[in-house]
């Protein structure tokens, strides 16, 4: 299989949407976390989701790869609907990469093994091919020289870049970012954001939960503001920041930019 160095192809906007969420609801007990979410993400579209803590933005993207189960409504990822069918979940997870706030690298495996684990066990890729692929993506996130170290030996920024490379090794069509820079020291935020910007330029479909508004201005096609489990406002970055429509958006932006 010629998976090596194959970049996610830029697909035309006429094809099926990357992600479709139709009337999605979710409760934690009595707490209504997601209220009637309707969202269509096109192929290659880059979306930034922001909002106060507890607004349901992390839960929203975690529903896309079934780390959280939605209770009503439909979620369709690349034409495959998420149901209780394990094989559908596997199929979707293979194509959707995720980067977490706390990196979640596997501490008992070297950087290289972190990157080759899923290609070998999920994609059944030959070890050498998987290692070549891992080195390719580690070079792309600019840390090939750390390949044989362990996660505990790297700085936060380096670990998060490894986490991005690890996800890319599965050759995903969609990437989910759950506050990827929130746990980082300020001087390391830039190196991770640079990696994400480069990824966006290559045409990856991206869903990013982040408060990095400069990143949103730079790469987002749309910015979504969530509050109390609902999508309050969704707009292109320029009008979103220049001319927010809702009071809650204005308040949030004044707090975060102020």
């Amino acid at each position: 299989m010629a998976a090596i160095a194959q970049e996610p192809a830029q697909e035309s906007a006429h094809e099926a949407a990357a992600i479709e969420m139709i009337g999605v609801n979710k409760w934690y007990g009595q707490f209504h976390v997601l209220r009637d979410i309707n969202l269509v993400v096109g192929q290659g579209e880059r979306i930034v989701i922001c909002g106060p803590s507890g607004s349901g933005k992390s839960t929203l993207i975690r529903c896309v790869n079934r780390l959280e189960e939605h209770q009503s409504g439909r979620i369709i990822v690349r034409g495959v609907e998420l149901t209780n069918d394990l094989r559908k979940i596997d199929e979707i997870r293979r194509d959707v990469g995720m980067v977490f706030q706390n990196f979640n690298l596997f501490p008992h495996l070297s950087i290289l093994e972190n990157c080759t684990l899923a290609p070998i066990w999920v994609r059944k890729m030959p070890r050498r091919e998987a290692e070549d692929l891992a080195m390719h993506y580690l070079a792309r996130v600019k840390i090939p020289e750390q390949a044989h170290k362990y996660p505990g030996q790297l700085s936060g920024g380096q670990q998060q870049r490894v986490a991005i490379a690890r996800a890319l090794c599965m050759n995903p069509r969609i990437m989910l970012f759950d506050e990827p820079t929130s746990a980082l020291d300020p001087e390391m935020v830039k190196e991770v954001l640079d990696t994400m910007v480069a990824l966006a330029r290559d045409g990856m479909t991206m869903l990013c939960v982040t408060h990095e508004m400069n990143f949103a201005k730079q790469v987002a096609d749309r910015v979504i503001f969530m509050d109390r489990g609902e999508i309050v406002e969704a707009n292109a970055p320029e009008p979103f920041f220049a001319n927010p429509q809702h009071e809650r958006t204005k308040l949030f932006l004044s707090q975060i930019l102020g």
Partner: protein, 473 residues
């Protein structure tokens, strides 16, 4: 720090006010008191022992013991020496502890993972098991198992007998049918795998494969006549003198005697092990080159079990069985598994497994939730996530208490004395001590043995822990 660094000469301090001198003085005085107390005790004991004529040396070691032991792993009888009795007891202890550790570990890991399962029935069963077993004293459990096993068993003359089994070389029709069925099963399984997307066909082919394997096994064991009516027999034949008996003296089994030609079976076993190791290396290389995962466990099993089996038949079955025979009130010949051994093994394994289960649960729970989520997000399913991501990290938390459990099991095996299993304590510290009166020597040796076993166990576990450690910073 004091200001001593500034000047060349440190200011003089009275010796008694110097904390370092005081420390040394206090320790020297303590050591002196302890040593003189021990000396007084030893001297007192030695004087008293001499006065009462109790032996103070190891001369008894080479004297004839004069007593019998009902489970001996090495040649031993009443004319053997006390030293040999020591080894009999030690080996019996190691036997029950070794097998017990393996059983307790397997069961403990299974129960520990079950307790965290999403399945309500599995979770509840494991919880009830753990809470019951670890809250009842071990001695009670041992006595329970001993009585539970022993009570329903009859006296030797009323033994429960089982028909014996004779082994022969399968005849041609049985062998041909077995080969054909096994071949068919193999290709059915391949077909099933290649059509993984079609559920119905996959199920059908899997069922076909399973049937094929069963037919092959039955044809080989009992002969082709079972299926095609052709005369001739398989490998196993029922009938003949009864070979297996169960009574309150234990489970009696035929004793295998290895005849000439058996060395070929051993050679085939060695070859099988070597070949499966080579296959493992080849499979790794194949994975590296082509990505294909090989059925390592299956092939190894076939090599390690199949090759010796073939050699066994090729050498004309070089094993004769010596059957136990009832003479008077008891049986002669055969191998005997003591009910005491079974009771002790069951009690120790089941009890220790409950503790190991809790340690496994703690270990698995100590692995951050994010680890599982990251593995799931990468597309790994539950089982590989547990095996590749969670358990390796949990092992670090599990290992130290697991070592303690292994030591506990070994030391608890000395409770054997209460149900009459001839372990080191029962044979050596019991009978040998009573007969020789050499209490100090016998107890010292017994303690040294348990200490050695324990230190060896923790040493091995520490070695394993170091081999599996990973760099932190």
């Amino acid at each position: 720090m004091s200001g001593g660094e500034q000047g060349a000469a440190r200011p003089q301090v009275p010796l008694l006010h110097d904390p370092r001198f005081r420390g040394i003085l206090a320790q020297a005085l303590t050591a002196l008191v302890v040593i003189s107390l021990i000396w007084a005790a030893v001297d007192n004991a030695a004087t008293n022992m001499r006065a009462r004529g109790i032996p103070t040396n190891f001369d008894f070691w080479d004297r004839t013991s004069g007593f019998d032991v009902n489970q001996t792993l090495i040649a031993y009888s009443a004319i053997s020496t006390y030293g040999q009795a020591f080894w009999v007891g030690l080996l019996n202890t190691l036997l029950v502890a070794g097998i017990g550790i393996v059983f307790a570990t397997l069961l403990g890991f299974l129960l520990g993972v079950m307790r965290l399962s999403a399945n309500w029935a599995a979770r509840s069963f494991a919880a009830i098991y753990v809470e019951t077993l670890r809250n009842v004293p071990l001695l009670l459990q041992l006595l329970f198992w001993y009585n539970a096993i022993l009570t329903p068993l009859p006296a030797p003359r009323a033994s429960l007998g089982m028909p014996s089994v004779t082994l022969t070389w399968p005849d041609a029709p049985s062998f041909a049918l077995a080969l054909a069925a096994a071949g068919g099963a193999f290709f059915a399984a391949r077909f099933a795998r290649s059509r993984a997307e079609d559920d119905a066909r996959e199920l059908l082919a899997s069922v076909g494969a399973a049937l094929g394997w069963i037919v092959a096994l039955v044809a080989l064991l009992f002969g082709a006549s079972v299926f095609i009516g052709a005369p001739g027999g398989g490998v196993l034949h029922w009938g003949g003198p009864a070979g297996v008996y169960l009574n309150n003296r234990g489970l009696l089994l035929p004793d295998p005697r290895f005849g000439p030609g058996f060395e070929w079976v051993m050679a085939a076993l060695a070859l099988g092990v070597a070949l499966s190791l080579a296959f493992g290396i080849w499979a790794r290389r194949r994975q590296a080159l082509s990505g294909a995962q090989s059925p390592l466990a299956l092939v190894s099993l076939a090599l390690i079990l199949g090759l010796p089996l073939l050699a066994f038949f090729a050498a004309g079955g070089p094993v004769t069985l010596e059957y136990p025979v009832l003479r008077g009130f008891n049986f002669q010949g055969g191998v005997r598994v003591l009910p005491e051994f079974v009771a002790l093994l069951l009690g120790l394994s089941l009890y220790t497994a409950a503790f190991i289960a809790e340690e496994v649960r703690a270990g698995v729970q100590s692995v951050a939730r994010g680890q599982t989520e990251a593995a799931h997000a990468l597309g790994l399913r539950a089982a590989p996530t547990l095996r590749l991501v969670v358990l390796p990290q949990a092992m670090r938390v599990i290992l130290p208490p697991l070592t303690s459990q292994y030591l506990n099991l070994t030391k608890n095996s000395s409770l054997a004395v209460f149900i009459g299993y001839p372990d080191l304590v029962q044979v050596f510290m019991g009978t040998v001590l009573n007969q020789t009166g050499a209490a100090v020597q016998v107890i010292a040796v017994t303690m040294a043995v348990y200490l050695t076993i324990s230190l060896a166990t923790s040493g091995l576990m520490a070695l394993y822990a170091r081999r599996t450690a990973w760099a932190e910073r």
